[in-house]
Subunit: 327 residues, 6 copies
């Protein structure tokens, strides 16, 4: 589907347009003679572009094209005073909500999702424990789940807040945790499975719309930590005790539940095993490194100096852009 | 069954004994001539009593009667130097674990459980909302659940730590919360249902044995807050959406999940409605007043003075026994 | 006196006006020909209304009518472009500060104060302890105190921030605490008296002016908790020890002093009795439920969704407007 | 009175004894023939000394001489196996509680109280403000208050926990605060008065008995911070407003109330003026330096090393005895 | 050099100007006929002054005079509509960065630095310990260090944020700490040396530019506490162990390192001696009294009332301007 | 040297002994006839063993062999009542402190140090940056440093508290951090160097004696975090700026200084770069996983159950021993 998105960043004058756009701005103005005209700003995940004015006769072409709606546009890229603008050649069509694919209008990770799925599927394949394999396959061998999972961000506006962000974050956590478990002589298979499952609740906790990510009601009232625990509990109903004992189930639920590390950060129980603890630190490593790296990349925090003027909210402290290279 | 317990506190010399007791102490001693003899201390929820010595010939009557085991005793109450002791007239029988009823050996609330059930059932009957009634009946109209619920304490060693303690605590919370909701113009039916459901997870989180209460593994790894949420989730599977909507389900789960009031006290989400908030304060009122009242009743904290010497652990601060009456 | 307030909300064109108003806005403008004119916006507790312009000849009618002053207005309600405005027919009279009754211009609780006083007086009448009765009557049988108490808010801008708010809050706290004390087998008379007295310091801690509530200097430098303790201490001077012992006095002072529950919330000592503790939780129930309910009623926190966009300052967390009814 | 105390530390064999002692230990023993005898250990602020045995015939000489009682002793210092002991020559007389002067049996500061009073009285004499002088004289020109104040410790078991400790601490605080105020261009007279008044509540908050210091009930239920504020409030009743305005009274009460610096340390309001803030830091300097110095002097924390093994409770962190001198 | 600064506050019409100024504002405007003109606002530590317009022909006089640059100005003070303005009589000269002396454009303490140096040098002269004298002289007998130290502020925007502020603050701390040490019978020489050295790291941690103070990169990445410790460590290399032992060195480093009092305020170790503790409290006294006094002097916090409307950031709580004098 | 240690665990009767031992216990006893005899308990890192009695004639063989001293023993392993004991055949020789090698008597990691050095040296060899290589070689190419480093524990009584513990911990941290940096696209070389350097201060902060590990005075007064920063600062003096710029030096010092992650855990500055942050999380992973694993291995926390009875001090929470295997 993504290929159907019009690439605003690379568009040149003369390009034909027959795509969906999000209405970012709608300005109703008047000429000196009092005649009304309309300017729209349209956008998608690749950028934003203004329209040529819609004059009196065309005003009804944009009926219903309110800010936040998705519209189907027919037209072409034109030039105006050296800048590109979108010249409409037909009335806009308002897309019904049911047909809108929010992914087209949201930021997206730059890594190919196939690469990430390959890593996950190879990791699943290497699990020696049948019980762990069965547990992880309850979700990761389910195509419907994979479709949802792949679209989900890892947070609403913080770390990995992009389509595919959850997939990327989980792969990072699993990689880091597996390595740490090997170094610390802990059960590496168990932490991989814990890492893959730890954030499954985000599939239910976050919603996507063309204008951005948001918490669902259950995401606010229950939280992704407990949602994930309940999702696992539900799917485990169909697995026989002979394959996965009560105690083993508890351990997996505990890993999801404790992954925030302590009560004040939203885990109702703290990690009680080596593997749950390592999962927590790996989660911190992925989330906080992403927060730090993206905050460092945002020029707005730096007024020309090396050290940020204030404390970017995602890291909560002043940060430093080193002026030197290391070779 | 409780009637089958031998009432140690009121027993008099000559009473026949044919009951179960917990072995509290087992002392193996020797006479001056080297002959061995044995003294046992036996007990149940009503008190403790020593046995007459078991001489050499009777030693095997007590084979296997180790500390912590439950035994069936046949004998009678005798006098020895003005004190009562238990004279055995037949070998002890070690009760298999499966037959032990821990309730016989544990502290028990002094209020009649019937009175409390009556209150709860009347409160259920007064609910105007069919949806709320259906939700609460998933548990409180289920006899198996009622049996478990009635035996459970409200904590392992803190407030209402007695058989029946959970039933008493929940009734107190529901009474206080209902009144507060009426005063504050909130939905009184909803807080009653929230109060009845808020601690259902304790049925799975706490275990009973003749020697005391303890956390189960799931009580430690998941915690009663999330266990209760999951139990409700499970039983709601069979209720049609037409009777209880997704949003209504969420609200009930949220009330269980948020009843500790804030993250650092183990609720992964804080209360987000008036009713969830009032439930939390009612829970505090019942739990903390019980902690305070029982700590005030313990002489060990008071070395003769009005103010406690130290901070009793259940309240965490110094407490005061007023020396005056208020008429 | 309240009946003398002109009811702006219900006023219709033609109504005669001869009332006091607060000057909310004062705009000095000029016509195209440079002639000056004046527009005032006037208000009271029932709403706000603009005046018809005061032209050059009438400018001195409004001399001294600065923003924040109270003025006596003679005029009538007129219509202008379909909206109501106030047409003055005589010069404004600036009311001396000493004559201003701030209550006319401040928000007011919607419950009748008589109902609340009835509850309080009945509760006083039901006290069995002469000593407690005497203590509470030091304030609640004193008409001068009652007048002040009835006008006071329970906070400057938070819970129950309205004329009559303190009376309402205290009645709520007393009702909730009395019920909780009965449930928990504590001294219900004592908590009622504690509840009635706990916030008396607010009579000295808060000031009223037509433009709003504020902290007095003693409210800032001493705080209502200690002010209340000192007020009680002062009035107790005249009560004989035979009626109220030193120890009983201490207990009442302790209940006022400890009602915030812990040091970090401004109580220099935490509650050391069951009754002081229950009073604290009842205070939380009334204050926090009011904060939550009023925050839920404010549309500004909800951008169309069920969950608030941010954390309203009075509750400090995101809150939820349930989309369903419970029958 | 202190001169009447028998100086145990310096007593030599043959000294006559006709003094009061505290019974520290009472041991009832038996000879091989079964005859009972009695050993007492007696003490006062200067040390402890054992008695010669009281044989059968003398047993009733010690009737009522229980541990913790004060007794009048007639006898002499004798030698036994090279050690001193107290040989009684007459029956002990149990001193009625009303006649006991606890100061004789409690630790006492080593500085002469006269020196401290001189400092205070000179400081009072140097005050330029009549209003401040009047306020401080309400207490420090009152002989009855001075007697109580001079006997009071500054804490029960922490800093300056000795008879005279409060006097010493307050003099230290006043000296430090006055200097700091001069350096920081603040009102030095005001901080001196604040320093002298800041701990007056301890006169009511702490009790003395021969066995040690303790909190009074009001010290526990109200705390010395608020007690001091109330004491000042009471004595100010008789001072005319013309000499000390409402606002000036408030400032002095605020200085007492805020001297712990923040809510979590028991001040219901934090310091709101430069002078109240400087008083707080001076109080910290005196209290914490005394805690640190006395903890450093206690060998029990140091197992031979320079750094304490654990964290002495009065300072809450590891401390260091420097091994070097500075010259 | 300071004498070379043009005194804007006292300048009168006709004064000749031949001085350096900081360009505070640069406004490029146009006349009705479209001709461009330029207005500059220039300033230094004594105030700010606007220029007369630079018309078309003079525009290149101000080439390169961007906001934030320092320029050499030749001209005179003229009058325009009753206000003073600066009339240029020659082109501006842009001062190369290397020649700019930021001190000319920054706030400066009002106490003469000579007075402060005299105090410090006298205090050094009075030290009885050769070892301590040697340690302090490593910095305070070094003219290059004194020049830097004298220019440094004690914070970027908080307490003593002025040229000379560090010198003033350190003198205050040393005075207060020396007095407190004498009162508390601690080593006064040691606290004086600790006070003089405690903030030496600020010389490296803060930078000055004409537009204000800022943190250097090492000030941000290392912090002044550790920078000072390292500076002392470095200079101690050349002092023989016979004069200053390892243990004595450690003590001085510890005093610098622990002067923030606890870990959460940036001291990696808390004070472990009486002297280090007293130094900490003296530092608080100077810093916080300055914060409080300057916040009280800022009208913006007080909307006409005695108590501040909000909590000024430098003190973090509401503050009070007493309305009365104390004689 | 370690091979010279007598292997107590595996010793059999008849083994010749000519080794050093630590005196663990020294008991002086008497026979019934009053003759004195002596029993010693000797030990080293492999275990403990009692001696045969030293009778009157041999008593001076053990002169000076006090508890805590190291002695040279000549003798053999004998049998007594079925247990092994050490029979001395010559007088003990007290080893002068200077000759004692504490490593012989302290716990030691079970991994071969050669393996760890190989990893570190290979990692150094793979560094692409000459600057980073030079920085790390200042310590890790210095044989004297390597000897000290290899003997140091990573804590006194917590994680990796064994000879070689620091080497093991640092290798774990470097491995985990390097992997995490690769995953998060950060500078892997930089985190490896940061990991190798982050704890160098422990070489000065911890001391070894035969009876255990302890903090040195500088370890207590300065702390290993700042000690490490100062050690690096010192050795960097000899490196030319052309190889390692000021800014690069600062970054390495910052990584050491910030590795505890936040102020309250003893880092005076928090991590301000991605690499410093990842180093911190890797440090947590190694330290906390070791604390958790070793606490789980200690039976004393588990009274037969799966969940620990209390909270082991090294982890601060209850922990779980899973009863199941994962295949």
């Amino acid at each position: 589907m993504a290929s159907a998105t019009f690439d605003i960043a690379r568009a040149i004058v003369g390009d034909r347009v027959q795509h969906e756009f999000l209405v970012l701005e709608r300005e109703e103005k008047r000429l000196a003679n009092g005649d009304p005209f309309l300017l729209l700003t349209l956008g998608n995940a690749t950028g934003r572009l203004g329209t040529a004015p819609l004059w009196t006769a065309q005003l009804d072409w944009a009926a219903g094209a309110e800010k936040g709606r998705v519209v189907q546009v027919i037209g072409e890229v034109a030039a105006f005073h050296g800048k590109r603008q979108l010249r409409l050649t037909a009335p806009l069509r308002i897309l019904p909500d049911a047909l809108v694919r929010p992914e087209h209008f949201l930021p997206r990770i730059t890594v190919a999702t196939d690469t990430l799925w390959d890593w996950i599927d190879r990791a699943r394949g290497e699990l020696k424990s049948h019980a762990l394999r069965r547990a992880v396959d309850l979700f990761f061998a389910d195509d419907a789940f994979r479709v949802d999972f792949e679209k989900s961000p890892a947070s609403v506006a913080g770390h990995h807040a992009a389509v595919g962000g959850l997939l990327l974050h989980v792969t990072e956590v699993a990689t880091i945790a597996r390595n740490a478990a090997r170094v610390m002589k802990a059960n590496a298979d168990l932490v991989v499975v814990g890492a893959l499952l730890h954030d499954i609740g985000k599939v239910q906790a976050y919603a996507r719309s063309p204008t951005g990510f948001a918490h669902t009601t259950s995401g606010s009232l229950i939280g992704h930590v407990v949602l994930g625990t309940m999702m696992l509990h539900e799917r485990l109903q169909d697995v026989p005790r002979s394959l996965l004992s009560d105690s083993q189930r508890l351990e997996l639920q505990h890993m999801i539940l404790s992954h925030h590390g302590s009560l004040e950060f939203g885990s109702p129980v703290p990690p009680m095993t080596v593997e749950a603890d390592l999962l927590h630190w790996a989660d911190e490593s992925s989330a906080k490194a992403n927060d730090m790296a993206e905050s460092l990349a945002e020029d707005e925090h730096f007024g020309g100096g090396e050290v940020s003027d204030r404390r970017p909210w995602r890291v909560g402290r002043r940060i430093w852009r080193r002026p030197h290279a290391w070779e």
